[in-house]
Amino acid sequence: MDLSKYKSLFLQETGEHLQEISKELIHLEGEPHNSATLDNLFRHFHSIKGMSASMGYEVMASLSHKLEDILDAIRKKRVAISQEIMDVLLNGSDILQAFAKMVADDKPLDMDISFLLSRINTVLTAKEGVPQPSIPSAPIPPFSVQPAAQGLSLPTMIKVDSGIFDGFMGAVGELFTVGSRLKEFTAKSYPVEFHEAVHHLGKTIEGLNQAVITARMIPFDELTQNLPRIVRDMCKKAGKDADLVLHGGDVKLDRAVLEHLTDPLVHIIRNAIDHGIESPEERIQSNKPPKGRITIAVARERDNVIIEITDDGRGIDTNRLKEKAVQSGISKEKIEIMADRELLLLVCAPGLSLAKEITETSGRGVGMDVVKGNIESIGGRLEISSQLNKGTKIILELPVTISIIKVLLISISNQLFALPISKVMKVIDVHKSDIRDGSPYPYFVYKDTEIPVIGLRNLLMMPPLEDRDTLPVVIIDAKDKISAIVVDDFEGEMDAYVKPLSRPMVRMNGIIGVTVLGDGRPVFLLDPAALISG
């Protein structure tokens, strides 16, 4: 296992513990009988010991262990605190500090500390009340070990509450708004210096935006740390056995994207265990290893991240899926002409479950629709592929970041709305005479495909516009079907800082988020999938 990526974290945490040790030792010297101080010291040395052992820094782990022994002896009153003991503890923490520095500098931890170990042994074997032989002070090694009191330093990494970065992002969003407003001013006649300043401001805001996004990026495996345990527990409950394998855990995504993935990921894994992976006996009968395998593979593709969750279970029985789909009200004819991709996505239809039995957590036909909705709400896409008796693969395609997205502005009754460009296939004018009656929606034929037409005015319960010969329509690809939305007009594209809706707007139907224009007008981001489903 490559531990180098945890080095910074190790150094940061060790530094924090050593700082606390330094403070607590001074307390202990002043109040030798303060048991809380002793406990704190014990805890800090113990943490360093554990972390060092995990990272393979055995000499640090061993020294921390010896120092813990002294504290333990004091706690158990086998030795009394003396100047000698305090010196040894302080010297020990200085040496741990020196080791940490060597780790930071990528130097081998080959410092000779035998002198200190022998002093530790001496103080540990001394009996309480018995004067100890005079022990010469430990020589300061020729490099780097300086008593902590002789130098001050600050950590190179700082821990920051993630909420602070949300605040930064909000501030950047507001700067975007101010920048847009200033750009509008520049459209009027202003001196060239003003234009240049606004342009420079725009570039600076973009740089700041990139910096904040970078700071908010965290590796995918930060999200999955508990997943092995979750898989273990789910398997145990279901009487199954499966390994979880993660590839590409170091791929970084915006924290906001990862937040949208927490529930979907657990749900997909739960489905894989409940409905995909067979019991060990069944797997043996199918010539499979008794232990199943769930693989999560993460890869970056330009501005997107592709997450594939694959299991080697029984796969989706498409015949059974067709039966269930018919039972749920989808016409047989429609199902027969469905492509495999479209058919498999029916497992995400609300209320459609293939589960033979309902478990505590799955099989109620809720879940995959929510998973899909969650992924699509951040401009992502979900695909499914499956082979009977071989397994199922769920593919999630997600943007790396969601805060600033490209949108198409459209207007209805002079009010602006936005649609995510990622869902827009084409913007065209359709002659009214080309629109034919159909159910549930009228349609027109575009490139040999019948495209249903949905009026946004109708959805917004606004009266229709007076008769127009041509209708501006946005062809969108969402909910795995192509539809056309009739608007009043197109108003161009823009990069928008889209904020999620907060209470009381949080559950508004068909609205994903909102952005504010330079002139203060709110622009709601429409959810194409919700528009299509009405």
Partner: protein
């Protein structure tokens, strides 16, 4: 105008309506400001025919945040429901009108004041007054200084009602 700098827990902002007087916990009032116009809130697809959303005047923006503005008079008088949105995107009052921006945790509501009178009722004044219980919706109780009936609003319930009305798929009658 900014909220009074010396507001303490227990102080109330008093809003005088045509027929009623409302009290709002002053410590949730972030700011009282003037605006020229409100923007419409898009409601997509079929809201319950029983829902009354007339008390929602629209939205306004405040420091980059979109705020839903409600009119307490309309909420408490509950005029008949009118489904559908007007064919204009803004609602303009006759000149600038005042709105109290209120916020608790991550939720915000703008309380429409218009050109009505505003005042404060300080904690000390309230200490001599009894908060009488009330069975009315969205009301924490009634304060009755010198014969005036002041309705102390239940902000949390009003927020929930507003959210329900806006969530057209999950409409509930408060």
């Amino acid at each position: 105008m900014s909220a009074h700098p010396t507001i303490r827990d227990g102080d109330k902002l008093i809003i005088y309506s045509d027929n009623e007087i409302f009290a709002v916990e002053a410590n949730i009032v972030v700011e009282v400001l003037e605006t020229e116009q409100f923007f419409m809130l898009p409601v997509i697809a079929s809201p319950s025919p029983h829902s009354n959303r007339e008390f929602i005047k629209g939205t306004m923006t405040h420091r980059g945040e979109v705020i839903v503005v409600i009119d307490l008079s309309l909420l408490f008088n509950s005029p008949p429901s009118q489904i559908g949105q007007r064919d204009d995107n803004t609602i303009e009052d006759d000149g600038p009108c005042k709105v109290a921006i209120t916020r608790k945790d991550a939720a915000s509501l703008g309380i429409y004041i218009g050109k009505r009178k505003l005042s404060f009722l300080w904690k000390e004044e309230l200490s001599n007054l009894e908060l009488k219980p009330s069975n009315e919706d969205y009301t924490l109780g009634l304060i009755d200084p010198s014969g005036k009936k002041i309705r102390l609003i239940d902000w949390q319930k009003i927020l929930t009602k507003t959210q329900d009305v806006l969530s057209s798929r999950n409409m509930s009658l408060a």
